[in-house]
């Protein structure tokens, strides 16, 4: 790309704007051109990762994206994945990559499930009940979100050790079983549940907990799905706490191991990138399936303020 190319593009754009009679079409073209350019910028790093995980050795920096087909046999291979699958040494034998995946899955899914349960309970109570100390509680919850979590790490570590949970997946899950952010989201969603439905259920003799499970929760499913996605992403990609709390090789999660790999394979960035590419797949799959709920959940929640 040099001056000549820019001039050409400018000429084309000017032609389009001048010749096209319909302003609406021109505007549409411009809009999609901008969106397209933005999308390309956002996708570029991903597009770079794809060939990068297959490139080996010196060729890594020689070609920006894919090498020419003729050179593929020299430069492209599955070596990075093979190295990744070799496993890392540990006290009790080799630990393989799928085990880190398993640990991450356990932590992310269990934590998210528990968070949904506890946060929705709290959110519902905050939305539909008046009680003494409620304003204070909400202020406290809001304030607690402003505390940097790093601050609490050391005392929390001691607590987890005292509970005997250090270096175990449970030790990572238990301290974060509740999410104040989730409580607020569920509160937003529960507020819009019509009180008449609650009254009707009470008249029918339904217990409070029954109302919660059978009336309210089904109505706020979009928000549950939205929170589900956000919480899963957060817990899947969590790094700092697992890094400190987990010690044994067979307990590590994917982000922790990838960070380790980068230190070990500073020169062989392809291996680290291969791991990153694999780590992106579960969140991507989940997002693909949950897109609609995610958006409608956000709409029902945050928008109503």
């Amino acid at each position: 790309m040099n001056g000549f190319h820019y001039a050409l593009i400018a000429l084309v754009l000017i032609w389009v704007v001048l010749r096209v009679r319909d302003r609406e079409r021109a505007r549409k073209f411009a809009r999609w051109a901008l969106i397209g350019a933005g999308a390309l910028l956002v996708l570029a790093p991903f597009a770079w990762i794809v060939p990068a995980v297959f490139k080996t050795g010196d060729a890594f920096n020689d070609y920006v994206f894919f090498p020419p087909l003729s050179k593929w046999s020299d430069t492209m291979s599955l070596a990075n994945f093979r190295k990744l699958s070799e496993g890392r040494p540990s006290l009790r034998g080799q630990v393989y990559f799928w085990e880190y995946f398993l640990n991450s899955t356990v932590i992310a899914t269990v934590t998210t499930t528990l968070q949904i349960f506890f946060s929705s309970l709290a959110g519902y109570a905050l939305a539909k009940f008046e009680f003494r100390g409620k304003a204070l509680l909400m202020l406290f919850m809001l304030g607690s979100m402003m505390i940097p979590p790093v601050l609490l790490l050391a005392p929390l570590y001691k607590m987890v050790v005292d509970l005997g949970l250090v270096d175990s997946l449970a030790g990572v899950i238990v301290p974060i079983m509740v999410s104040t952010y989730g409580a607020f989201l569920f509160r937003q969603a529960c507020v819009s549940v019509p009180n008449e439905m609650l009254d009707a259920a009470r008249l029918d003799g339904c217990s409070e907990i029954g109302i919660y499970f059978r009336v309210v929760m089904p109505l706020v499913r979009p928000m549950a799905a939205a929170f589900c996605l956000v919480a899963f992403l957060t817990n899947w990609n969590a790094f700092f706490m697992p890094n400190v709390f987990l010690h044994s090789e067979d307990n590590l999660t994917v982000p922790v191991v990838l960070n380790l790999l980068l230190g070990v394979y500073r020169q062989k960035q392809g291996i680290f990138l291969a791991g990153t590419a694999l780590a992106m797949i579960p969140p991507a799959v989940l997002f693909f399936f949950l897109q609609k709920e995610f958006i409608s959940g956000l709409t029902s929640g945050a928008v109503k303020g």
């Binding site: 540990s90 398993l102 499930t113 929705s120 570590y157 890094n243 230190g263 020169q267 960035q269």
Partner: protein, 457 residues
């Protein structure tokens, strides 16, 4: 209504619940048994050390009738974990192998609160101190006592491309002072093919100072701290060094280029962009491992001296083995430390695997050190590094080590700004002022530490 529909929270949470149950099941099924508490736990951070110790430890276990657990933990995690364990007062490994700069954390405040064991007397008692390179103890000492067993010496040489150096007409045997080196560098750091970009740089110099500046300062005898732990880098000598460094990286006749780290360095070497590389013993192994295509084309030479006949090496890095005070078996831990670090024949094999020069001087006579290394043009690099090892400068440490390094770099960067704006006018004054500021900043941190030392609990 199917089960999924009845789940109050919806489909996605249900799916997550299902996956959670399944994954927990698999995890429990595939969980490894955690063995009962061994007699000693030792943690290290490098694959090479892990492999070497794993082979050696069974013999120790047999000789002493104990069980030793060896852990491999990446360095940042290891340090974080030790720190957290100390903070939380919980169990730590009995021994931990850490990089230089880690000692500071464990030697803050009153001596009684140090997290690591004082091994000065044991070193003396077992006659180890005389057998090791004295300057390395500086790295692992605090307030005059030694707190970790040094692992290595890490003398620094310069690696270079023999073919390119010959092509460009440089005679390395003549480069025995930095003045001559700079002269040769200025001759070849030019644009050869006329495309406006310099094709060859003489040497790799980090633009922000960092290890390039540190290594040179240590070579000149400069120090971050003196033996008593006072800040010591704000000297005229260091100011002159900074001026030299600025000129070599940003001056009109600069000879230095910043290659970065990792893959780009390999590319720069292969392309011939940079001729000379800073190569402590461990980095020679890194080159062998990561740039195999240059085998036979590389060689090593000692650093040029600052004054004729001066010191021709510096030091970069260091690993040491600390015994945690919390250990329940200090004597056994000491035996293990000695076993791993001073078993002479073993050290030869380790050199073969890592190129790292051990601290134990007796080991340097082993055959492995004489062996010609085909990557490095068949030079006996073991002998070459070992010859320089006794000269490696001491590096006095302090709990506020990191602050000193950060502030030296800060002073350097500010001086670079001055140079870029005003050239050499007033440069030395600016450098002196920046260094003084940097030293003052470090002193503030050091004062906090001494306040802690004196305070009663």
């Amino acid at each position: 209504m199917s089960l999924i529909d009845k789940y109050p929270y919806g489909k996605a949470p249900f799916a997550l619940l299902a996956i959670a149950i399944v994954s927990v099941g698999i995890r429990v099924a595939t969980a490894r048994r955690h063995d009962d508490r061994p007699d000693l736990v030792i943690a290290t951070h490098t694959d090479a050390h892990y492999d070497a110790y794993r082979k050696a430890i069974p013999r120790f276990e047999r000789e002493h009738g104990v069980k030793v657990q060896l852990q491999l933990i990446n360095w940042a995690s290891l340090q974080a974990r030790l720190q957290n364990s100390m903070l939380a007062g919980t169990e730590t490994p009995d021994l931990a192998e850490l990089f230089e700069g880690s000692l500071g954390y464990f030697t803050r405040g009153p001596v009684e609160d140090f997290g690591v064991m004082d091994i000065t007397d044991r070193l003396q008692r077992d006659g180890l101190r005389e057998r090791m390179v004295e300057s390395r103890f500086s790295l692992w000492s605090a307030r005059g006592r030694v707190y970790a067993l040094p692992h290595d010496v890490h003398p620094v040489m310069l690696a270079y491309r023999t073919d390119l150096v010959a092509k460009l007409g440089i005679d390395v045997s003549q480069l025995d002072t930095w003045d001559k080196f700079v002269e040769a560098g200025q001759r070849i750091s030019r644009d050869v093919d006329g495309d406006g970009v310099i094709d060859h740089y003489m040497i790799d110099l980090r633009f922000d100072g960092a290890w390039g500046l540190d290594t040179l300062m240590l070579q000149r005898g400069g120090q971050f701290f003196d033996q008593q732990g006072n800040v010591a880098f704000a000297t005229e000598d260091t100011a002159e060094l900074i001026r030299w460094y600025i000129l070599q990286t940003r001056g009109p006749n600069k000879i230095g280029y910043d290659c970065g780290w990792g893959q780009p360095v390999a590319k720069a070497m292969i392309d011939g962009l940079v001729l000379f590389q800073w190569t402590p013993d461990w980095r020679s192994w890194v080159f062998q491992d990561e740039v195999p295509s240059l085998k036979g084309k590389m060689a090593l030479m000692p650093l040029p001296a600052w004054k004729p006949g001066g010191r021709r090496t510096s030091v970069w890095g260091g690993t040491g083995l600390m015994i945690m005070k919390a250990t329940k078996k200090p004597e056994l831990a000491w035996e293990l430390a000695k076993f791993l670090y001073t078993d002479t024949p073993e050290l030869g094999k380790r050199f073969q695997a890592t190129n790292i020069v051990p601290v134990l001087k007796d080991a340097w006579n082993l055959p492995e050190f004489e062996r010609p290394n085909p990557y490095w043009s068949n030079l006996p690099i073991g002998k070459m590094y070992a010859a320089l090892a006794p000269e490696t400068p001491a590096v006095y440490s302090s709990p506020v080590d990191a602050q000193a390094r950060i502030n030296l770099d800060l002073a350097f960067t500010r001086s670079v700004d001055h140079y870029l704006k005003h050239g050499e006018a007033g440069l030395m004054d600016a450098i002196r002022a920046n260094l003084a500021d940097g030293a003052a900043a470090v002193r503030k941190y050091a004062d906090r530490e001494s306040k802690l030392r004196e305070a009663t609990r």
